[in-house]
């Protein structure tokens, strides 16, 4: 089973604050993804990457930056956090595209006050 580890598991910040969410996968997967999960919206793709140094824009990128420093590590940055970014964030990885399975981390619950 693929291992994807997210940290922190919970985070509280204030409006305008700076937040970094971390994700590490140890299965040599090429693809990594950041999703946010909100009731009524499901899982929405923020950013994704297919290798170290690569970044692709997802469907809801506004207010988010991301960086893939190594094959293992993918970070999501909120530089001026807003209450609308209060959500449950999932990182996922996969070996490739097409029929490859997404393996999700345990999630980070972020509250922006």
């Amino acid at each position: 089973e693929a291992a994807v580890t997210q940290s922190p598991r919970n985070k509280v910040t204030v409006t305008g604050g700076n937040v970094t969410l971390s994700c590490r996968q140890t299965n040599s997967h090429n693809y990594m993804y950041w999703y946010r999960q909100d009731t009524g919206h499901g899982l929405r793709l923020i950013h994704y990457s297919y290798g170290a140094g690569n970044l692709q824009i997802g469907d809801v990128p506004d207010g988010y930056k991301a960086t893939r420093t190594t094959q293992e590590d993918f970070f999501l940055l909120l530089e001026l956090a807003s209450p609308s970014q209060t959500s449950l964030y999932f990182c996922a990885s996969s070996a490739g595209t097409g029929g490859n399975t997404l393996y999700f981390g345990a999630g980070t619950r972020l509250s922006v006050l």
């Binding site: 499901g42 899982l43 793709l45 469907d59 029929g99 399975t101 997404l102 999700f104």
Partner: protein, 111 residues
């Protein structure tokens, strides 16, 4: 762009009754992969089943789905619901780099 539609936000059933969760999709790709992911309470989503082949039934853990390209559908079914099936179910599709998810259907099974 690509999209996945799950029309039911909540489905409530009595244990033992059949389950059917609807999923339709729109894609620019002629050969998309379709997936069902399941997320139990306080857990992360995990793959339930997936398919690429038109008109072929795919089964896993008592659930089954058939990809119908003619109607762009990939409905999830089970003959008899169990209490442990209560969860959030996501339909998803991909034909390229992105995996697009539907809004999810919460299934609640009661005794």
């Amino acid at each position: 762009g690509d999209s996945v539609t799950q029309t039911e936000g909540l489905v409530t059933l009595t244990e033992g009754l059949p389950v059917m969760l609807n999923c339709t999709y729109q894609t620019i790709y002629s050969n998309p992969f379709l997936f069902w992911y399941v997320q139990h309470l306080n857990e992360s989503p995990r793959l339930l089943l997936k398919s690429f082949t038109d008109n072929k039934r795919t089964e896993h853990q008592g659930f089954h789905a058939t990809l119908h390209k003619s109607s762009s559908s990939f409905h999830l079914q089970k003959s008899s619901a169990q209490l442990s099936d209560s969860a959030l179910y996501y339909c998803a599709s991909t034909g390229g780099y992105k995996v697009v998810f539907g809004s999810g259907t919460r299934l609640l099974v009661s005794p």
